[in-house]
């Protein structure tokens, strides 16, 4: 008979918690006004080298608008005008609704359709929404205080559903494009904001996410692909928005992801091992760590110092590296990175939805009103 009377003495080690990290910072000043002006200019005219981004202009607008929101400076722009312009980018259903599977938002007016911010949609063989534009369009409307009443939700969700592939990932456009984790995140944000998950097959998307977990416990853009800070954020944030994070990943798996992410910090953060640090990863990885409750263990001082070293003291904004040209993307994510660190002059950012907490609360109120409406109708 086996001896079952086993006495086990378990060794346990415990580190004492360190105190609050925001103490004596080297005083690199944060130039709030410069950044406000940087975003203002970005909303007016962009330099020629941005022309290749014309088709994705709405994302740049989102960076500028949300950046101003984080700076608590949205009052400097004409919100109503901006809202009108965003609505003009909505790909609405035609009279006969034959284009429902191509609805959503466009990146800009580059297709050449006449300006119109009201329906019905105009038939055009190659006009269709782009998943990232639909996401940033909705997010921009929200942070501007709009009530989304002119969004054709049914059309957006139909268009979204048409983009999902058998393996659970999404195309960006109905004609086809690359498919990866970025677009799963866009889809999750769209469904979350519209409070309607019929726009995607959650189960398949979750399976895709699980298959994208890599040997080193980071998450890649797809199965068998290299772990990346951006795709890890997209995966974790999507699961959080779906409300399925703890259900999908065991505590052990979550620990492993925490470990991979926390090792991305060098001074600031990089996106993959042995790559140089880049300002935007202070948000991508920082927000992931925040969603996993371990951001507190990072080194705030080094992170802040790096982000501020990429600040452009003349024109405002942030660049990915020091002594480089700033751009709206890095300016926005640099601010978000600082916001995670609790920078005093900045609004708090919702780490999963990537808008200010204020915009997030506005969304919650809207959704409550929608639900009250529904229940009062039935």
């Amino acid at each position: 008979m086996l001896d079952r009377n086993i006495i086990l003495v378990i060794p346990v080690a415990k580190m004492s918690e360190e105190g609050n990290q925001i103490e004596e910072f080297e005083q690199i000043d944060f130039l709030k006004d410069r950044h406000v002006r940087f975003f203002q200019r970005s909303l007016q005219v962009l330099p020629e080298r941005y022309s290749s981004l014309e088709t994705t202009r709405l994302t740049i607008v989102f960076f500028a608008l949300s950046g101003l929101d984080v700076l608590d400076a949205l009052h400097v722009i004409d919100k109503d005008n901006m809202i009108e312009w965003i609505y003009s980018l909505q790909v609405l259903p035609t009279e006969d609704e034959s284009n429902m599977q191509r609805c959503g938002f466009r990146g800009s007016s580059h297709i050449g359709l006449p300006y119109s911010s009201k329906g019905p949609g105009m038939a055009h063989p190659y006009d269709s929404g782009h998943i990232a534009m639909t996401y940033t369009g909705l997010a921009s409307l929200l942070l501007l205080g709009d009530d989304l009443s002119r969004v054709n939700k049914r059309a957006c969700l139909t268009g979204l559903k048409a983009l999902q592939l058998e393996d659970g990932s999404f195309y960006a456009v109905p004609e086809g494009s690359e498919n990866d984790m970025r677009f799963i995140y866009c889809a999750a944000c769209i469904c979350y904001m519209l409070d309607d998950w019929s726009g995607m097959d959650i189960h398949k998307a979750i399976e895709y996410i699980r298959r994208s977990m890599s040997y080193d416990n980071g998450i890649g853009q797809g199965a068998g692909l290299e772990s990346h800070g951006g795709s890890t954020f997209c995966a974790v944030a999507s699961l959080r928005l779906m409300g399925r994070l703890e259900e999908t990943l065991s505590e052990r798996e979550l620990d492993r992801i925490r470990r991979w992410c926390i090792m991305r910090q060098q001074t600031g953060f990089h996106g993959r091992p042995n790559k140089p640090v880049d300002t935007c990863y202070s948000f991508w990885v920082g927000a992931t760590l925040e969603l996993l409750d371990v951001f507190q263990y990072t080194n705030y001082e080094k992170n802040r110092n790096y982000i501020l070293s990429t600040q452009d003291r003349l024109v405002g904004g942030f660049a990915k590296w020091p002594d480089s040209h700033p751009d709206p993307l890095h300016a926005y994510f640099g601010l978000c990175g600082l916001s995670l660190l609790g920078e005093p002059e900045l609004m708090k950012v919702h780490p999963a939805l990537n808008v200010t907490q204020r915009a997030f609360q506005h969304l919650q109120q809207l959704q409550q009103a929608w639900r009250d409406n529904v229940s009062s109708c039935t």
Partner: protein, 559 residues
Amino acid sequence: QHGRLKIKSTAQQEEEKRKEREKKLKLYVTARDVCFSQRKEGVLDEEALQLTQQLLSSNPDFSTLWNYRREILIAPGDCEEDDVQKIYESELSFVERCLRQNPKSYGSWHHRGWVSARLPRPDWVRELSLCDRCLSLDERNFHCWDYRRVVVRMSGVAVDQELRFTDRLIGSNFSNYSSWHYRSTLLPLLHLESPEPLSPTPQLAKTSPRTNSHRVCEEQLLKEYELVQNAFFTDPNDQSAWFYYRWLLGRAEREEMISCVYVSREEERVAVCFSKPVHAVGLMLVLDGQPQQVEWRSVHPRLRHSPVWVCDLPPATISDIGNEHNLTVHWTENHTHRDCALYTGRSQSWCRDSATDLELFRSELSVEKTSVLQSELQTCNQLQELEPLNKWCLLTIVLLMRALDPLGYEKETGFHAVCLYGDLCSKFIIENTILKMEYAEVRVLPTLCHLDQLLLVTHINLSSNELERLPPQFCMLQCLEVLEADNNSIVDLEGVYQLPKLEEISLKNNKISKIEDLALLASCPKLRSLDLRGNPVTQMANFLSDIAKLLPSVTDLQL
């Protein structure tokens, strides 16, 4: 918005640039408008290809245009195969020019993949050489790596050839993280543990996506350990090798399987222990050839992933000690099962890992596993002497010590290992965030190699361990009769929940302060002895009456 460094330029240079930009802009806008009016009218031809070419050269992420080109290319026509070949080949040259300008364009790489898949006579050697050139410029370009994987898959390149490719890259630069990553996907394919014989040259056909969770045979594993050790001895501060190493060490982990089945007549309960925490769906119990209608549950409601799952049998099914029963637990999801025989005259029975497994590193007591891990630990300790502050090394040492089974050691070395563990902690540098995180959580239970023993443990002594809580995982100890956890800082007894055989608990000198903290003990039906001396709760007013109400069957109460 890729990084652009600031470079000052003279006024004249600025002016030249401006003029050139204006020219480009005019051309761009004209071309674009013609292009769209043509597409609208359904004009698909040579001219359209020319125009889109101009536009895409400066704007490779204009996906509509790539789609337009694809429509043109697949438009039906009376084309000989040779003509098609020529058209697609010139397409490849065009994409190559785009890639040279912008090697990170999603649109361009996507299009190249599309074209390659349709080429009547693909030239995979050329595609691989394109990847080589691209990677020599930027060995971390994941677009290029991903495309290379596609090419390899479509052309049926042998796995070991690709492994040699990574050998070359790693050999010239150990810090090539993307190469190590690629290697992690290739290795399990080459040396898959499977009952069927391997084909002579295993190829990278359509494989199941998560091959990194497959196991690797010991021979290959040992060779890999050597390769990795070379890497981290050469540059101990490079992350690549350490990450890969950690993954390799994990390859010795057991797959998900049922490691133990335990059945008790008295509680009329069956407990199943898995080799790692699982969310067990598809568990089926067959008793004496009859499938049973039972509800399986995790041992603790908070554990969705639990190493132990239990179910209760219908009353009087197995309670008669004169009857013999045969049980089988099927785990349909993983196609495994485990049998257990409950003999006459026996009130309980269990069955554990047997020696019939073909897979390696199965039992935690196997000589191979322990010796391999011990030798790895030795190697890391050697490195640690040379590089005492290297955090990667320290982390890996900790990982190895946790993985090694202290019960496999001699008594003395076992305790020595424990002390060394504690020593390492005091060495940790305070601002080392990773190590901080590793120890932020109190770890009660040791590693998975103990799991099938823990289910059967009857006594456990956790005294003097700075514990603050007994977490939900503690519920795994379904056979526990005596719990000693004196001289800790315990406030939380969450894991002492519905332990069916627990009779005695000693919690002297802990920090239990509220009667509510003891509430869960009432869920243990056999509890009769409780020692709470040295806990603040004993000083509360009405403690004696409260505890009598809460735990009426505890007859032996020490305060």
